[in-house]
């Protein structure tokens, strides 16, 4: 996973509430079995409208997306994070994000910054008004700044921050607990009342004992 430290980039204002993952990447692109190549399909339906923000040449190459409340709600499709990342976005700033999207973004090196609604509205307005409006997002300092005097701190879960700074694959992190996992699992397999196939689970337990 690509690590994230500090990013200075143009910002695209997407002043819409409840942007759902069906809009970020419509269903017809979910049939592919690859993990890459989704950038062309990002906001596919909305991009059919020439007035849509991403079609504005001023915002070409922007790596920061500004959005309104509850960004990424709906479907769990990680394709939404893949599409944002593949298109070139490394950071989304909004007043709130949906839970599953939050997790998916983190696993793809995308930093989600939560700022109060009035601050995000100010940034949205500035990005809409001034050409080439640029922001600097520092994960090390946990700040968002522009060149017009805006500066705000943000909070982030310390573990999420650590993983992003280091670009860590968390399967490896979980496997640091392999011994605890083995021990837990041996005991837990006895609880047949929470096994999907209780008889298969018992068998594997007996096999383990033998």
């Amino acid at each position: 996973m690509q690590s994230f430290h500090t990013l200075t980039s143009n910002a695209v204002p997407l002043d819409r509430v409840n942007v759902d993952t069906d809009q970020i990447i419509p269903k017809q692109f979910l049939k592919r079995i690859e993990r890459t190549g989704y950038g062309d399909f990002l906001f596919f339906d909305w991009r059919q409208d020439p007035g849509f923000e991403l079609n504005n040449p001023h915002y070409k190459g922007a790596q920061i997306l500004l959005a309104a409340r509850n960004f990424g709600c709906g479907s769990s499709r990680e394709h939404a994070a893949w599409a944002l990342s593949d298109y070139g976005f490394r950071c989304v700033i909004a007043p709130s994000f949906a839970d599953i999207f939050h997790s998916n973004a983190g696993k793809n090196g995308i930093l989600l910054v939560t700022l109060p609604e009035d601050q995000v509205q100010l940034l949205l307005d500035r990005a809409a008004k001034s050409d080439g409006y640029s922001l600097t997002v520092s994960l090390e300092d946990q700040t968002v700044k522009d060149t017009q005097g805006f500066s705000a701190p943000f909070t982030i879960d310390p573990f999420r921050r650590y993983c992003l700074l280091e670009g860590l694959d968390d399967i490896g992190l979980s496997l640091r607990h392999a011994d605890e996992l083995d021990k837990f699992e041996r005991q837990h397999d006895l609880a047949f009342w929470v096994a999907p196939k209780p008889y298969a689970a018992k068998t594997s337990q007996e096999t383990a004992r033998a």
């Binding site: 759902d20 079995i33 339906d45 696993k107 979980s174 996992l181």
Partner: protein, 478 residues
């Protein structure tokens, strides 16, 4: 000293903690991993690339639901080459990694959230995940069940656990008695309308109260299914005699000698008296009605007897713009009575409302009536077992005689990943869970309703208050 009272969620959470490293999310064990064709190929590929094994094939179960066509011919020779490849990829992955697959021709095939409970794979007290946000459905059994992304799918495949931050708890009690013809779907829509689509973000909801207790398992699944539409991580309902009666004698339920022990364990799960929740809300059942969504977010919902609201009611500028955009997309004008809105299509199906009870409720409305001449209506049972059960009860005959199409199981028109889609501009009364722009087909207009409301709209051609419905006993042959 007595242990402090615990919630249902806390009991399930604590019994699945593998590790609690300092300053990191907890490592939570996963009892059941459900897999389907759309969100798994990249995860299996990730395992291969990293040289990792699937840790517990016996705790992993797959089916094919999202892409599968719902006509008999269409399923044998899938025309969409990309969908066919995705389905074949799942078959190969399941064969390579030793995963049980309920394939298209299997008598157990169906929507993943319908077959899990139906087979008895889903049980109280379990942790269940799937690369699908409607995994919350399984919480109806008192399981902690939630949707995950594909990286997490790979993580579970490799480790059978997931790093998870502990969510907050939110108790929603629906008290009183449901008015006539007001259903579990209306409970779900009413809650979302009340708290908003981000009203439960970061929370696990526990649904409680006399209304929830009185619901069947099918109804409870409908309510838990739509937890994600309120932003919740999961929804749960304490297991009780209704739960145990549903589970008894299912294929993977504990058998004779183990059954009583399992039930005794499951009975311990209910939230203890005095257990503390981070948030609580009580909704009187009397406030609920047959609901219809009018916009492009499930929170844009009103009773069938209301009129399309005015954007002036919104709280912020951003909300007002979203509201106006939704009105424009849906081609609706403030002040229009919901009952005057005519429809082109009706879809009865999806992981929200495709179970036997849903089909019975819809059939009760349909008996003796005919689908309106301008409406195309379809019923898509959630699984092969639901379909067979409905056919044994003659429900298919009621639907067919009325002019409904009777289809093969799958996700169908809920998300338009298969041939069942709306054409641009078509308006649909749908029993599914999302009315997002383009969800059922680009330019399609979705109104979410209960199965009874969908059935009534199919017959009159416009939204109709099912509380005033003329129920007929016999089929009237025209």
């Amino acid at each position: 000293m007595a242990a402090s009272p615990k919630t249902l969620f806390e009991k399930v959470w604590e019994s699945h903690l593998v590790a609690e490293p300092a300053n990191e999310p907890a490592l939570l064990y996963v009892d059941l991993h459900l897999v389907h064709e759309v969100t798994s190929p990249q995860a299996f590929e990730g395992l291969r690339l990293a040289g990792r094994k699937l840790r517990r094939p016996d705790r992993t179960v797959a089916t094919i639901d999202h892409n599968v066509p719902t006509t008999l011919d269409g399923r044998v020779h899938i025309q969409d080459a990309i969908a066919a490849k995705q389905i074949d990829t799942l078959r190969k992955n399941c064969a390579d990694f030793g995963v049980t697959l309920y394939d298209i021709q299997s008598a157990e095939q169906g929507i993943v959230h319908v077959i899990g409970p139906e087979l008895g794979l889903t049980k109280p007290g379990m942790t269940i995940v799937c690369g699908d946000s409607h995994t919350s459905t399984h919480g109806a059994f008192g399981a902690l069940a939630f949707g995950i992304g594909t990286s997490e799918v790979e993580h579970v495949m490799a480790t059978q656990c997931l790093p998870q931050s502990k969510p907050k708890t939110f108790r929603i009690a629906v008290e009183g008695e449901l008015p006539e013809s007001v259903t579990a779907k209306d409970v779900a829509l009413g809650i979302i309308g009340r708290i908003g689509t981000d009203g439960a973000t970061g929370c696990v909801i526990e649904y409680a109260g006399s209304v929830i207790r009185s619901l069947s398992m099918e109804g409870r699944m409908t309510v838990c299914n739509m937890s994600i539409e309120a932003g919740a991580r999961a929804g749960m309902i304490a297991p009780d005699d209704t739960t145990f009666a549903y589970l008894k004698d299912r294929e993977f339920s504990p058998k004779v000698e183990d059954w009583d022990k399992a039930v005794a364990e499951w009975r311990k799960l209910a939230s203890d008296p005095g257990a503390k929740f981070d948030r609580e809300l009580v909704i009187p059942a009397i406030e609920l009605a047959p609901f219809v969504t009018w916009g492009t977010s499930p929170g844009m919902v009103i009773p069938v007897t209301d009129v399309i609201p005015n954007p002036a009611v919104t709280k912020s500028d951003a909300d007002r713009r979203g509201f106006e955009r939704a009105l424009e997309y849906m081609a609706l004008t403030p002040g229009t009575p919901i009952e005057e809105i005519t429809i082109d299509r009706v879809f009865i199906g999806s992981c929200t409302n495709s179970r036997i009870e849903d089909l019975r409720a819809a059939a009760k409305v349909v008996v003796g009536h005919r689908v309106h001449s301008k409406v195309r209506a379809m019923v898509v049972p959630g699984s092969q077992k639901v379909k067979a059960q409905a056919e044994s009860e003659g429900l298919d005959q009621i639907f067919r005689a009325a002019g409904f199409e009777w289809r093969e199981p799958g996700c169908s028109m809920c998300l338009g990943m298969n041939p069942d889609i709306l054409s641009p501009g078509e308006r649909c009364a749908s029993t599914s869970n999302r009315n997002f722009e383009g969800r059922q087909g680009r330019g399609g207009r979705t109104h979410l309703v209960s199965p009874m409301m969908a059935a009534a709209a199919a017959i009159t051609g416009h939204f109709t208050d099912v509380r005033t419905w003329e129920f007929r006993k016999e089929e009237v042959l025209v």
